[in-house]
């Protein structure tokens, strides 16, 4: 690529990045200044910054309780996704009758929105006596089709000779997954961890339906409750948003290289 063309591409990408980052900057700025978001003309730079809105969020609501609930649910979801999706994806790398039909079924299930299945999901959770519990909160997200295909793409890239060699050495199928497939699929593991964590962390509708006890609320539900209490306090509300966002963003920044590798693996094959 010629230098002038590269500069133009970078300038365009930089401009697009700025446009995409402006809302985040605005939320951060408002959380530190509490200014009216409808003020005209808007102030581009923050004035008289202070952290007191974060202090308000910390003390006015049981923020630590919400964080603990969200962490527990996310940990269950991430662990369950790693196990269930890896097993399902490994099965889809094998040859068996009806494999195409199962793949088609899984892909078509991705078209069904969660809202359409929420009543059966609620009834199943109720029958299992898991309403108002961490496990009940985690249940619908314990396996996700997108992550199954992320794992499948990664497993498909593992040479068959390695798997055959492991079988000849006497490894059971689950040990092949544990000791051969997963170590060679770190990008898929990272992608699954990040995606499942973020989906669980941001989940709102399911906790809203399943949770009755305020002590069991997760962060998005807490945010909603907080909004109902403090609808005039823009600064505290935005501070809460930042506090909810930080763990997900931090996890992504720590694992972004593997995350992108995981999502693009298999994309350039053949």
């Amino acid at each position: 690529m010629r230098p002038s063309r590269a500069a133009a591409v970078h300038a365009t990408l930089g401009a697009v990045s700025v446009v995409m980052l402006v809302p985040f900057y605005w939320v951060l700025k408002t959380s530190l200044t509490g200014e009216n978001i409808f003020q005209y003309p808007p102030a581009l730079l923050p004035r008289a910054m202070h952290p007191f809105y974060y202090v308000d969020v910390w003390y006015y609501i049981p923020f630590v309780r919400y964080v603990i609930n969200s962490v527990i649910v996310s940990a269950i979801v991430v662990a369950a996704n790693l196990v269930c999706n890896a097993l399902a994806a490994y099965a889809l790398t094998l040859r068996f009758r009806g494999k195409r039909a199962i793949v088609t079924l899984l892909l078509s299930c991705m078209l069904i929105p969660f809202q359409a299945t929420i009543i059966p999901a609620y009834l199943i959770t109720k029958e299992l006596h898991l309403l108002n519990s961490h496990l009940g909160l985690a249940l619908p997200l314990c396996s996700t089709i997108v992550c199954i295909f992320v794992f499948k793409a990664s497993f498909d890239a593992v040479p068959r000779s390695l798997i055959d060699a492991a079988r000849i050495d006497g490894l059971a199928e689950w040990r092949i997954i544990r000791h051969v497939m997963l170590p060679l699929s770190t990008s898929a593991v990272a992608t699954t961890v990040i995606l499942s964590f973020i989906w669980s962390w941001n989940s709102f509708l399911w906790p809203l339906i399943v949770i009755r006890n305020p002590e069991m609320q997760t962060l998005p539900l807490g945010l909603s409750t907080f909004l109902s209490y403090m609808e005039n306090t823009t600064g505290a509300l935005y501070a809460f948003c930042i506090m909810v966002l930080v763990p997900g963003v931090a996890l992504f920044l720590l694992e972004q290289r593997r995350f992108i590798d995981g999502l693009t693996s298999g994309a350039t094959k053949g």
Binding site: F52, V55, Y60, A250
Partner: protein
């Protein structure tokens, strides 16, 4: 390795913050009350109002000493208002204050000023 460093740094920061808070959270609020002409207001009543999500609730009160100074102890609220009253004067405006953490010891920079009768 990054996870270890990030976790260790966070633990260090949180530990340091908690230590600082533990050493400075007696809940002491001190300051002065002055009359409209700037003279110390002796025997004025200073009320401490805790700001809750929806309203202000009166939690404590104290009297100023001969130099107009007052000290309120054991008040943990991080968001509160103070108001001074004395017979013969209008009450001072109810002023809101914030603390960085509950029970932070705080010395008011500006005195509470009673209004002219």
């Amino acid at each position: 390795m990054r996870y270890v460093w990030v976790a260790a740094t966070l633990m260090l920061l949180i530990g340091g913050c908690n230590l600082w808070v533990a050493l400075h959270d007696d809940g002491v609020v001190s300051g002065r009350v002055v009359q409209p002409d700037g003279q110390p207001a002796v025997g004025a009543t200073v009320s401490f109002w805790e700001k809750t999500l929806t309203t202000l609730e009166r939690r404590a009160a104290t009297q100023t000493a001969s130099d107009g100074r007052f000290v309120l102890t054991g008040q943990p609220a991080h968001h509160f208002a103070l108001q001074a009253e004395k017979s013969g004067f209008d009450a001072s405006p109810r002023t809101l204050y914030r603390r960085y953490f509950r029970g932070q010891n705080l010395v008011l920079d500006e005195p509470l000023r009673l209004g002219a009768p």
